[in-house]
Amino acid sequence: MDKPTTTAAIVAAVTGVFSAGAFKFYEFMLKQKREKQVEEKAEQTLYRDDLIKRVDRLEQERDEHLEQIIEMMSELAALKVEVKFLKQENEMLKLRIEALR
């Protein structure tokens, strides 16, 4: 090979090797960036999943408490009626006692 050809071959080879290295390095940097993004996203997803679980649990508790309140309200209504009748009976008994005197 003559001198220009040898020089050209060396320059081409060196450029090829350097550009391949540069692309590999860039790919590595890109991968690192991507992994970081994936990690951040995973953390966000974890937080979101935790929030979803908490909301589910709170909603379940709220439903249970609502049922308890409804039960207590019906019991209260029954007790009110009972008290009303007892009061009426009491008044009647008082009147009877007074009549007997």
Partner: protein, 139 residues
Amino acid sequence: MRQFLKAYKDILVYHDYGPLLLFWNIADLANNRVLWMSYGEALDGGNEWAYFQYCLYFVVALGMLFSLPNIRSCSRFVGTYLLLYIFSTTRFLVNVFSDPEFAAGDVGRSLVVTAVYFTLWVWIYVKMRMEVMHKDLRG
């Protein structure tokens, strides 16, 4: 003026290279001296080295044309084409600086055209490699 320059920058960054590569590739193949010159003619003119070089260009350009739908293979052919380009340009430059007779020709114009073509191929190659990298990362 800034907006005007930004429009050019956007063209370089965001526009696709596919159609350009296809047409450029066809033009490159049609312009290849192998199609228009026999080896005997090259031998008579003492240009057998250039003929081999054009043969290589032709093979790589054909590979590029047929692998155009497969970006990974095509980028390899574009890379090889670029290496050939660097090889022939360096050879040309060494000849220009070492041979006064060679330098007497229309060197300036050739160098300007080569620089523009080289930029074009580098732009296409970088875009392709970036696309391959992003595809790999996406999995």
